[in-house]
């Protein structure tokens, strides 16, 4: 039998359930690797295996899980990558983490991220940047960069992250792993330290599509603690398709054409994959998402507006960092927040506060909501003709550390292809589709609300045909 950490998470779970492996052995193997983390992927690690006798009877077989820092985990640090939550250990556990624990995936560690999930490179972290295992001079993407890097480097069998405008899909693409952003409402947000409430969704980052489906199947469902959560119409099925016969794929000119900024190496991989999809039986044709080019502008009003309110609770009064002022309430607030928040978070709080200000609300927040509605309508029309819309996940491959930190707008363009789906609340999957100059390229499939099982099925068929080999970065 091969090395434990060479197994996919689903294979390891099966081995434990069939008695070929002990759950604690799996945990210990990964804990040892995670302890050797040179990528700064983890912010905290569990001390020892939970010692579950019953793990073999649970569907996830005791295969441990890396969890993005912003998920609250009872008794374990949960700082959302921010100094303002220094030392904060929540008294409760996020619903999706609890559900996964109950299904047999114990907590391996917490992973590094951009502060409050604001970023596309994981350079905005109070814990320092995460390195991309494919090239350590480069970023892993973000904001779930720690989860993506940990899975890519084999420091964790699987991980969860959150996606607000691309924060699962883009790092998955840049690290060569699978990432899923579910339909808005599919997973409970209870216990996820909020960035933008109407957009945030939890989802898996995994080595392959089967792992993603298995993990996601235990994350979804209505939660009494989250009024926006829903039960899916049916369970998430494990994928099994071998071809794409009859599948109609739409390629939006607005996100993939010459105006989109997609770099040539990424375009080559994307087009090669479209050709492969046709070989597998899919039909590929251009489709229109006329409002998609405005998605980023709308997103950078809506998300910061919601964030400006969501981050108001970090005031130094009850938990986390407190920098006392001159015995005066206002200076306590000002000093705590000035010290605790990083530059990008401050920038977005100010953007959002401005967008909601009296006299500006209609022009900014109001208009952005109208654009959001238009984008949803665009997708609805596209899905009348196509099963899925496909794009490159990110316009480019992993870039060098520091390359975009001085230019926020260039950084924001990372999410050009992922933000429209976030605004529409629809599910999307990113799978690795090849290498460009030795760096992974991601392929994104997006479908109508609740089409997760079908998306994963198509992604699985493509994955089998691509046969992307990432074992080199797990060595």
């Amino acid at each position: 039998m091969s090395k434990i950490t060479d197994l996919s998470a689903a294979q390891a779970a099966t081995a434990v359930r069939e008695g070929q492996l002990e759950a604690d052995e799996v945990f210990a193997a990964y804990l040892e690797r995670a302890r050797g983390d040179e990528l700064n992927a983890f912010t905290w690690l569990a001390e020892e295996p939970p010692g579950w006798g019953q793990a073999g009877r649970l569907p996830l077989g005791g295969v441990p899980l890396a969890v993005k820092d912003l998920f609250c985990t009872e008794g374990a640090p949960s700082q959302s990558g921010s100094r303002i939550l220094e030392g904060y250990r929540p008294p409760y556990t996020a619903t999706v983490v609890r559900k996964l624990q109950d299904a047999g995936a114990p907590l391996l560690g917490k992973t590094n991220q951009d502060e409050f999930a604001m970023g596309s490179s994981t350079e905005n972290s109070a814990f320092g940047p995460v390195l991309n295992p494919w090239d350590r001079r480069r970023v892993p993407g973000g904001s779930s960069g720690g989860s993506a890097a940990a899975v890519a480097a084999g420091l964790a069998p699987w991980a969860i992250g959150t996606d607000t405008g691309g924060s699962i899909r883009q790092p998955a693409a840049l690290c060569g792993v699978v990432g899923v952003k579910p339909t808005y409402g599919a997973c409970s947000r209870y216990g996820m330290i909020a960035f933008a409430s109407s957009l945030d969704q939890a989802g898996p980052l995994t080595r392959d599509v089967t792992d993603a489906a298995l993990l996601l199947s235990h994350m979804v469902g209505h939660d009494g603690h989250d009024a926006t959560s829903l039960d899916l119409p049916g369970p998430i099925e494990l994928p099994r398709s071998e071809d794409l016969r009859g599948l109609r794929l739409g390629v939006p000119e607005e996100l993939t054409g010459s105006e989109s900024g997609v770099e040539p190496g990424v375009r080559d991989c994307f087009e090669a994959l479209l050709a492969l999809a046709e070989k597998l039986g899919a039909s590929v044709a251009p489709c229109r998402l006329p409002h998609a080019p405005h998605a980023l502008s709308a997103y950078y009003l809506i998300a910061p507006a919601e964030a400006s309110a969501n981050l108001a609770r970090f005031d130094g009064v009850r938990y986390g960092l407190r920098v006392d002022g001159d015995a005066d309430l206002l200076s306590l607030y000002e000093r705590t927040r000035a010290t605790g928040f990083g530059a990008e978070v401050k920038r977005r709080i100010m953007l959002g506060t401005y967008a909601l200000s009296s006299g500006y609300y209609d022009a900014y927040y109001g208009t952005a909501q109208k654009v959001r509605t238009k984008i949803s309508e665009d997708f609805r029309e596209a899905f009348a003709e196509f099963d899925f819309v496909v794009t490159p996940t990110s316009p480019w491959t992993a870039f060098e550390l520091g390359a975009k930190t001085e230019d926020p707008l260039a950084m924001y363009l990372n999410d050009f292809c992922t933000v429209p789906m976030s605004l529409a609340g629809i599910p999307a999957v990113s799978i690795p589709c090849g290498l460009s100059d030795g760096l992974p390229v991601g392929f994104q499939l997006a479908g109508p609300a609740f089409s997760e099982s079908r998306l994963l099925d198509a992604a699985f068929a493509l994955e089998q045909a691509i046969d992307f080999d990432a074992s080199v970065v797990r060595a």
Binding site: I193, F314, S357
Partner: protein, 488 residues
């Protein structure tokens, strides 16, 4: 200075916050409480912990709908929650979840005052400031008690239809009793389950334009509301009369001094940056929810009941209001009235007489007590009132019987029998003997009465009343004295 006499007309609108009597808080499962040790009813949601989310309380909607229906408001088929953003230690999330442009209810009225809107929101935590100022500025320390945080609130905003401080107080009393009868709140101003702010302006009598208004806060009793509003009306009138203008500001009423002090402008200069609360879904008032709310409304609200007491039973407007606006009294009164109908038949007290006994009972058992919980059964009070009407017992003696009933319970007829409190009539030799003794002991008075000075009869009647311990009926005693003195 009376408001009416002035050349200026006050214009007053009220904003009332009502804590709803739900079991749990507005957006979490914590128990709604009052007076428990600090921070014993809290959870991640009402503490505003990172990652926690609100889930709306259905019961609070139900109560909100009941209030809207009782006030004749238009119910929004789909209403929204918004975030109202401001920093303060009593506001753990940095925003309050409230309703903004689409409230649960719009319009309606209670009596002569129109309702502007009724909306749902959550209460803030309670701050306790340690130090001489009693307010956050200048406090040595401030403690936050999150037990209250997240308690469901309904905010009721009136149109500016009130015209005097008394009017404001009286109308708020009506509203309180209406809410109390709906069973949606404890409506206790001292405990803060009913809180009232007032918007006050003045204008020359006859003018249609509104003057500049000020907002008064912290009037935590009916008396303070009246005093605060009156003080502010007077302040504004003297400003206007001195040729100065009223500044739009928020004023804090200090009940101990009666002073109105402006809040620092920093405290009130808010841009609340309202936006739709993304953590909650819109509230749909379904037909089922409306039907359930309608079914829980009392058959009759205080105002309707007062009108019925007046028009059908002939009670005076004052007495009708006094009973109808305290549901326990009205219920008790009607129970007693029903007993008259069943048992006492003809010769029982009429409703007006019976109603007159309710305040006497209240005086006896204490104004806070529920008469239905007292030892005086409604039928007993009806019997007692009937005995007075039939002159079986004098009014004074009946009060004594009432005291005994309140202390021990029992049947009024038995008490009268046992204590010998029955009316002494002229035919009874006992009363005749006492009358004779009265004349004998007061020869001067007797002589004057005989001489035609009827005012001199007082001491004679007084003597009889003392001797009979009030059991004799006044008219009867006078008749007997006159007869005895040969005047009849």
């Amino acid at each position: 200075m009376s408001d009416e006499a002035s050349a200026y007309e006050p214009v007053i609108g009220l904003e009332i916050h009502v804590q709803l009597r739900t079991r749990t808080k507005m957006f979490c499962g914590c128990q709604v409480s009052f007076g428990d040790p600090p921070n014993t009813h809290t959870c991640p949601t009402c503490l505003g912990l990172p990652g926690a989310l609100p889930v709306a309380n259905e019961r609070a909607f139900h109560f909100g709908l009941m209030i809207g229906l009782a006030l004749g408001s238009e119910i929004a088929p789909r209403s929204l929650f918004h975030r109202k953003n401001y920093f303060y230690p009593d506001n753990p999330k940095g925003y309050q979840i409230s309703q903004y442009d689409i409230p649960l209810c719009r319009g309606g009225h209670l009596g002569d005052v129109r309702i502007h809107r009724v909306h749902l929101e959550e209460d803030a935590a309670k701050l306790n400031h340690i130090g001489h100022s009693g307010r956050i500025h200048g406090a040595d320390r401030s403690w936050v008690d999150f037990n209250r945080c997240g308690t469901p609130l309904v905010e009721i905003v009136t149109e500016p239809d009130l015209r005097s401080a008394e009017h404001a107080r009286e109308w708020l009393t009506d509203l309180r009793e209406t809410l109390r009868q709906l069973g949606v709140s404890d409506v206790n101003m001292e405990e803060g389950s009913l809180r009232c702010d007032a918007n006050v302006s003045v204008r020359p009598r006859g003018s249609e334009e509104l003057g500049t208004k000020t907002e008064l806060k912290n009037m935590n009793s009916f008396r303070f509301l009246e005093r605060g509003v009156r003080a502010e009306i007077e302040r504004q009138i003297s400003l206007v009369e001195a040729g100065e203008s009223v500044i739009q500001q928020t004023l804090h009423f200090d009940p101990s001094t009666g002073d109105l002090t402006p809040l620092r402008s920093k405290e009130e200069a808010h841009d609340y940056r309202y936006f739709p609360e993304p953590d909650l879904v819109p509230v749909l008032a379904s037909e089922e929810m409306l039907a359930a709310a309608r079914a829980d409304l009392p058959a009759e609200l205080p105002r309707q009941r007062a009108r019925r007491f007046e028009q059908e039973l002939g009670l005076s407007p004052g007495r009708a209001r006094e009973l109808a606006f305290r549901v326990e009294l009205a219920d008790y009164f009607e129970a007693a009235l029903a007993a008259v109908g069943q048992g006492n038949g003809a010769g029982g007290p009429d409703p007006v007489e019976l109603a007159n006994w309710i305040p006497l009972l209240v005086e006896r058992i204490g104004s806070a007590a529920d008469p239905a919980q007292s030892k005086v059964a409604p039928a007993s009070l009806a019997t007692l009132a009937g005995m007075v009407a039939a002159r079986d017992v004098s009014r004074d003696a009946a009060r004594e019987v009432l005291a005994k009933l309140a202390a021990e319970g029992g049947d009024p007829r038995e008490i009268v029998e046992r204590e010998g409190l029955g009316t002494l009539s002229g035919e009874g030799s006992e009363l005749a003997v006492i009358v004779a003794k009265a004349i004998q002991s007061n020869p001067d008075a007797a002589e004057q009465v005989r001489a035609g000075n009827m005012r001199a009869i007082g001491p004679l009647v007084g003597y009889v009343m003392r001797e009979t311990r009030g059991r004799a009926e006044g008219g009867e005693v006078t008749r007997l004295i006159r007869e005895r003195l040969g005047l009849a």
